[in-house]
């Protein structure tokens, strides 16, 4: 059976959703051990074991350090003789994976949305051009390093032994290190992790109307996004931009409000499971990808829709 190391993050003792996902994927491919890094990492062990980890390496780390994390992971991979390494294609995961693969004399096949095991060789499907096309890749390296798109895989309950091993990071030799951190003011769920995303397009007409989208997002516990047009106009921060030069999302539900559906925007959200489009122009390209389309004035639709959800959810 293939020996697999999953590498994921923990915050305040709680494993990130993507950590559960890659552990589940690892379990389906062979014997999985999970390396968790973050704050109160040890406390996350039993939670990660639920998804199949036989061994859990816990590493306490108050802030991300690509050099130290990749060196730690490389040491564990070599010592443990792991053949496949799975990492979420998250903010930290994409940074640490390329460093780790280089240390292991390997390469990363990244951002997998589909994973197949063909006699011990992993074959993945990955979106390119932000989802305008897909490519199938295979690694020919001895140790296969794969990053997996968050939200793309099922989380399975399949308990493993979860034997805990503690490790300590060595930060003494790193070239770059974090010196401070300014937390985001918003408490809203991050765009890439959100199950539901509500996005605003130019139809919103101005920053003074964004509260409509915010209210809708907050009732649903959703992440909030925007189009490039909205960001370029300076109506909201560029970190909210969904599309080819912004964030790519694939939530269960994407609600596009006042969005026409430019090709580079469709690229960034086209892999969402269900899409709702609210736009008064019946010819808007967004309707071609929509599961449900509402042709009407967003200013007349969004407030009663928010109310409906409030009542449904008892808020």
């Amino acid at each position: 059976m293939a020996k697999i190391l999953a590498i994921g993050e923990v915050a305040n003792g709680i494993p990130k959703k993507a950590t559960r996902e890659i552990t589940s994927v690892g379990r389906s491919l062979g014997e999985v051990h999970t390396l968790v890094l973050g704050t109160q990492a040890e406390a996350a062990a039993s939670e990660v074991a639920r998804h199949g980890a036989e061994v859990i390496y816990a590493v306490e780390s108050s802030d991300y350090n690509g050099e130290a994390w990749s060196q730690m992971a490389a040491q564990i991979v070599r010592e443990g003789g792991y053949e496949i390494v799975l990492i979420p294609h998250s903010w930290a995961g994409r940074d640490v994976s390329a460093r780790l693969a280089t240390l292991l004399d390997s390469a990363v096949i990244s951002d997998a949305v589909e994973i197949h095991n063909e006699g011990g060789r992993i074959k993945i499907k990955k979106p390119v051009y932000s989802g305008k096309a897909f490519v199938w890749l295979k690694s020919t390296a001895a140790i296969q390093v794969v990053t997996v798109r968050p939200n793309s895989q099922k989380i399975e309950e399949n308990p493993g032994a979860g034997k805990l091993e503690k490790r300590q990071l060595d930060l003494s030799k790193v070239k770059a290190r974090q010196i401070s951190f300014i937390p985001q003011k918003s408490t809203r769920v991050s765009l890439t992790e959100a199950d539901i995303v509500v996005s605003a397009g130019r139809g919103i007409k101005g920053p003074e109307n964004l509260y409509l989208i915010e209210n809708l997002a907050d009732v649903l516990g959703a992440g909030m996004g925007a189009t490039r047009a909205v960001v370029d106009a300076g109506w909201c921060d560029h970190t909210l931009q969904v599309g080819q030069t912004g964030v790519t999302v694939s939530p269960t539900l994407y609600i596009a409000v006042g969005i026409s559906g430019a090709i580079q925007h469709l690229a960034g959200m086209g892999s969402s499971k269900y899409i709702v489009a609210i736009n008064k122009d019946p010819d808007a390209p967004i309707f071609k990808v929509a599961t449900y389309g509402v042709v009407d004035d967003l200013f007349q639709v969004v407030p009663p829709l928010t109310e409906e959800f409030k009542q449904m959810l008892g808020k």
């Binding site: 994409r94 280089t102 070239k175 539901i196």
Partner: protein, 254 residues
């Protein structure tokens, strides 16, 4: 301060990507510098304008990439290096990073800037591999960069907030959107860029052999989306009610 900028030539982000026979059809595509690399280039030129030194743009590809090196000249780069490989599509990030590492051996760069990812492959691995091969600090997703003679201070768009990193030099920094607004090349710059020589290095002459570890098995178009439907209703409120019902009862997402 001598700065190296890694630039990748990619299809225009407004381009429709057509896949047939397992390949991306390149006919009729307009090629541009990958948008994040353009931001990296702009940052390099701004640092040079402040502290002096040179900006070198390096790109791996067939002869077509010289077009992007000329654009870099027009914006203000001083030197251009073209690592020539006619089947560059088959090279993986490790091969490209290894070629760049080899090509810059013995040259003196304190700062390397690159985009956070190419807007085609969306990998973002080359700067990280290069930094790991060289043993240099790498800071990803920069939104603000300050360089002095000893160190780089980089504000980073991190998950959940803004992280500030400090790195020794040489350093590799990847540019995020929002770092700056790239300039348009001046007419004078465009004219001058046409005559400027480009240093060409043949990939085969770098002595790397076959370094790619990733095999491309084939491209495919995105799956067609299932047919949707329009929500009917007498007025906007009725449509809102029906939509909420459909989301709850038909697809059970609320």
């Amino acid at each position: 301060m001598n700065i190296l900028v890694l630039i990748k030539q990619v299809p225009d982000t407004e381009a429709k990507i057509v896949v047939s026979g397992g390949k991306v059809q390149e006919a009729g595509i307009k090629w541009i510098i990958s948008p994040y690399d353009e931001i990296a280039l702009e940052e390099a030129i701004r640092i040079k304008e402040k502290t002096g030194g040179t900006v070198t743009a390096i790109s791996v590809g067939d002869d077509l990439v010289q077009q992007s090196i000329r654009t870099a000249y027009a914006m203000g780069a001083d030197h251009g290096i073209h690592i020539k490989h006619d089947q560059y599509q088959m090279l993986d990030a490790f091969a490209i990073a290894s070629a760049i590492a080899k090509a810059i051996e013995g040259r003196d760069f304190q700062v390397v800037l690159a985009g956070r990812q190419g807007s085609d492959s969306d990998n973002g691995q080359v700067p990280l591999i290069l930094g790991t091969l060289k043993g240099w600090g790498v800071v990803s997703f920069a939104k603000k960069v300050e360089i002095d003679s000893q160190k780089a201070t980089v504000h980073v768009e991190a998950e959940g907030g803004e992280a500030i990193y400090e790195s020794t030099l040489p350093v590799i920094i990847t540019a995020n959107a929002g770092l700056n607004e790239p300039r348009y090349p001046s007419l004078k710059g465009i004219m001058a860029s046409k005559k400027k020589p480009i240093e060409v290095i043949n990939f085969a002459d770098l002595g790397l052999g076959t370094v790619s570890r990733i095999e491309i098995l084939g491209f495919e178009p995105p799956p067609p989306r299932p047919q949707g439907r329009f929500i009917d209703g007498a007025d906007p409120a009725a449509k809102a009610k029906e939509l909420a019902r459909a989301l709850r009862e038909e697809i059970k997402v609320i």
